[in-house]
Symmetry: C2
Subunit: 111 residues, 2 copies
Amino acid sequence: MVEPSEDTDLLFKALADPNRRKLLDLLHQHDGRTLGELCEHMDMTRQGVTQHLDVLEAANLVATVRRGREKLHFLNPVPLQEIYERWIAKFEKPRLKALTDMKRRLEKGNG
Amino acid sequence: MVEPSEDTDLLFKALADPNRRKLLDLLHQHDGRTLGELCEHMDMTRQGVTQHLDVLEAANLVATVRRGREKLHFLNPVPLQEIYERWIAKFEKPRLKALTDMKRRLEKGNG
DNA sequence: ACACAATGCAAGTAATGACTTGCCTATTAA
DNA sequence: TTAATAGGCAAGTCATTACTTGCATTGTGT
């Protein structure tokens, strides 16, 4: 094995599963859902969903709060920003910069 | 299983492994390397590296060209941009907008 | 107190993934 | 042409992962 930043690895591993990405989407649509509410949209047992949520929580993509017997789930988008900086911006910045520069020039020229 | 976009899934799965991310980094540093050159930096057998590169190629993150008996590997950052649009911008845009708005206000105020 | 509702815990299984070993093919250079 | 170099193929192993089933716990409303 290589020596991965543990955080980064948890993050990418968390995003690697389509069901977990679906959970993130569900929370993006509507934050603060209970486990039960999330389960209604997932085609697996409650335990399966719980385990996926645990992975998301370990990756710091989801935070939870207990309210009585319920558990509320909240999306934390900050780690995604870290992915952006480390993996998107780094690889794409030159290309993106070229695009935005061009866009600016075009707007200047046409306006 | 959920119905994932096959492309998206290949992409995230490809990024989920630290050794594959290391390969992307190596290609980012210096594009067009042969398999052998990549192997020198990876702590596993050539076949292991080949298999990782196959995954990256399936995700369209790496393109290859044969030159004689060598195989050259090139990084394709475009899919990363797609991740950005679908998974970073979507989740972070409001937050980022808030930040840049605040920044602008602060600059206006202090300048 | 009671029944029900929401969630937690733990062990088991089946599939996938990472990696290896051993051998085969193709290209280059002497 | 032959030896060395660069890479390909396929099967096998071991660990991890996704998911399940069964039971235990904790909170809520009556």
